[in-house]
Amino acid sequence: MRKRIGAVALLGIGLLAVSMAQNSRSSTLVYGGDFSDLISLDPGISYEFSGGLVTDNLYETLVKFEGEDLSTLKPGIAARWVVKDAGSSWKVTFNLASKKFASGNPVTAADVVYTFDRAIALKGNGSFLFDEVANMKIGSTKALGRSTVEVTLPKTASPAAFLNLLTFNIGGIVDSILVKSKAVGNDYGSEWLKRNSAGSGAFVLNRWDQNQQVVLDANPNSSLKAKLSRVILREMKEANTQKIALESGEIDIAENLTPDMVKAKATDAKFNVYKADSLRLQYLGMNTGTGSQFEDARVRQAVRWALDQDSMVNVLAGGNARKVQTIIPAGLFGFNASNPYSVNVEKAKGLLAAAGKPNGFEFEMLVPQGSCAAGVPCADLAAKIQSDLGKIGLKANIKQIVQSELLGIYRAQKAQMVLVGWSPDFPDPDGNATPMSDYGAKSLAWRNAWNNATASKLAQQAALEPNPAKRAALYKQLTELHLEEGPFAILYQPKVPVTLSTSVKGYLRNAQGQVRFEKISK
């Protein structure tokens, strides 16, 4: 009997807590997602997706994209900017608007210089954007007075690419007075900035409990006026957990529902589904090295004729993806919409026979754990591919391994076939074209041992071609070459379906995953 009373009391506490929690939720947004990749909130260090989502709202960048648009740069901290050809180099000059950090300090040219030099010195995972893509060094950025900054770039870098990558979180301007005061030894305050904020963005960091939540509060000193007073990012790894929490009203936004859950929510009047664009491509990489099963381009074509992309897009991804067969994603300059391949078992078998493999062969397909693009479990996608390839006599043995182990094998050119994804580092076709085509870039083409001189040359030419028409022609040539001979079978370009409670207004997400919380209301 006493036990029963105890149980009733416990249940009572449960009910009480559930009801009490209904109160304090007027101007707070709770955003549910898998934020387990969050390791630092320092804009100069963070390169992971979740880090970007948070720091984009804590810091402002010199220039920025607005809404879903990724083609027009808008003023951020910089009110105006000019690119000048200075003969042996490019000079990019920024005139800063009058803004304040959360601390009350004004945003000055010195802060910009400190931010850029700091990011290069810290050598974080995203620092290659500054030192390798933009070819910047410590000292490239100079303050010309209190509110004017000049960045000098060598002619090997593209000023357009530089301006683009300033929109990333690594370009988030930090409060140099505050950060310097928190620096320990040679760390540029990065230990402190990991868990604190020092920006001029619409929000400030209230607290971050690892693997639990990030709490952001509106920044009263920011020129960006937030409609919400608080945003809580609640970490929920399991799709089902997010679904349950969304249904019970505990969270307002769920980011990682499975395609089936999204489909169900799309027809539910209580929820809206927002499908954000993404520049990611899910693909199969085939090792073309000498002696490899996939050395002959006809075998790679056979694979493409075997893949049932329509089912992957419509069934596995629940329609939250686009069928793509070329290497530049839709939404970027140079996208080639042609989809010449469809399921044709006879043709595939013919190509295999022509390549001297009429009876097919057996090989290992490396697959990462967890979810692939568009929330499709990699295990399911792999099983589907295995089933498709089986129809033309290719026997894929699935080996699902940890991401870092897979990368180790892939990067050593030792994978036969991999099922992975790729996102360009900045919204420019070169973010895909060079890594996927230029063997010398030691990236994806290299990993698949695909050494094609024509492809390398086309990618290099296209990257620096200033004339849009000529550039477009070069990319058309390159994507067509890939369709015939390339080492990749592109599967699809995902959408990112975000499920929101109908009370949430103003949610927008661009293809780089940036969401401006200040525009959201509830």
Binding site: E238, N240, V315, G370, D380, A383, K384, Q386, N397, I398
Partner: protein, 286 residues
């Protein structure tokens, strides 16, 4: 415990009578028989576990699909049935390995004593100090996910209990008359261990082993659930629960069927273990 000197036949028949009179052990044996039957006849009585039909996804149980279909339109019954032999194999192989290693270590330590005993038992202690699933997870992660590696990982965490069990038995037997007599007439230590000590440890080892097959199935399925087990599309039960867990609202059968299969398999071995203990070790009757 039992001693080899007593009339073994009479005792065995007594034990067997006790075993079969116990309804729990009969249920256990029947469950186990059923499981074996399904495992052996899987290809005959159930559809292919790998073949997909994306037009037939997440269908509820019906006359056409006995346990419904999963997210790729595969037959859940086919997958559960084909998974039976995998899980049984994992359980049995893990137990065979851990019994072999554990008995060997325990015999060596218990018979020779001294330095052997010290070294071997300290190693055993170290293995005991690991939280089993975490160690198994670490090993499986290090070796890479595959069913074979799961077996190795689970075996590594389960052998020490046999070592302790057998050593305790061997220590107790060392003082017994028939062992002392054998030693007196100059029988070598090794042959004493093999001929006198080993047979006498069989009963407790058998009892422990029958429980452990079930535990091994449970642990291995747990590893698969986290992602350190069978490779897709292998119809391993733990992996099936994991792959279908997000469909618990729309298609509860897809994850519940393999989970209940795990439950029944573990239950079967536990019941048989209970029955064996009650029958062979009457002093311990509950």
């Amino acid at each position: 415990m039992l001693s080899a000197v007593e009339a073994p036949k009479k005792q065995a028949s007594k034990a067997s009578k006790r075993f079969w009179r116990n309804p729990a052990s009969i249920i256990g044996v029947v469950l186990l028989g059923l499981l074996l039957l399904i495992a052996v006849l899987a290809t005959v009585i159930s559809p292919d576990p790998i073949v997909q039909d994306l037009g037939q996804r997440l269908l509820p149980p019906s006359s056409q699909h006995l346990l419904g279909t999963d997210q790729l339109g595969r037959s859940v019954w086919g997958r559960v049935a084909h998974g039976a032999s995998l899980s049984l194999q994992v359980g049995v192989v893990v137990t065979l390995i851990s019994v072999t290693v554990g008995v060997l270590v325990g015999l060596l330590a218990g018979t020779f004593g001294g330095v052997w005993d010290n070294v071997l038992m300290r190693i055993t202690d170290i293995f005991f100090a690991f939280p089993s699933l975490i160690l198994a997870m670490a090993i499986a992660a290090a070796l890479g996910p595959s069913l074979t590696n799961t077996i190795i990982a689970v075996a590594i965490v389960s052998w020490p209990s046999y070592a302790r069990l057998v050593r305790a038995q061997a220590m107790a037997l060392r003082e017994r008359e028939f062992v002392e007599a054998a030693r007196a007439i100059g029988t070598s230590q090794i042959s004493i261990a093999i001929r006198h000590v080993f047979p006498n440890t069989l009963t407790p080892v058998l009892i422990q082993a029958s429980f452990d097959v079930g535990q091994a199935i449970l642990t291995a399925a747990g590893l698969s659930f986290i992602g350190f087990g069978a490779q897709p599309p292998t119809p391993e039960w733990g992996a099936m629960v994991s792959e279908t867990r997000n469909f618990i609202s729309e298609a509860p059968w897809a994850s519940s069927a393999p989970a209940i299969a795990i439950l029944l398999a573990v239950l079967a071995f536990n019941l048989v273990g209970d029955g064996l203990r009650d029958a062979l070790d009457p002093r311990n009757t509950r």
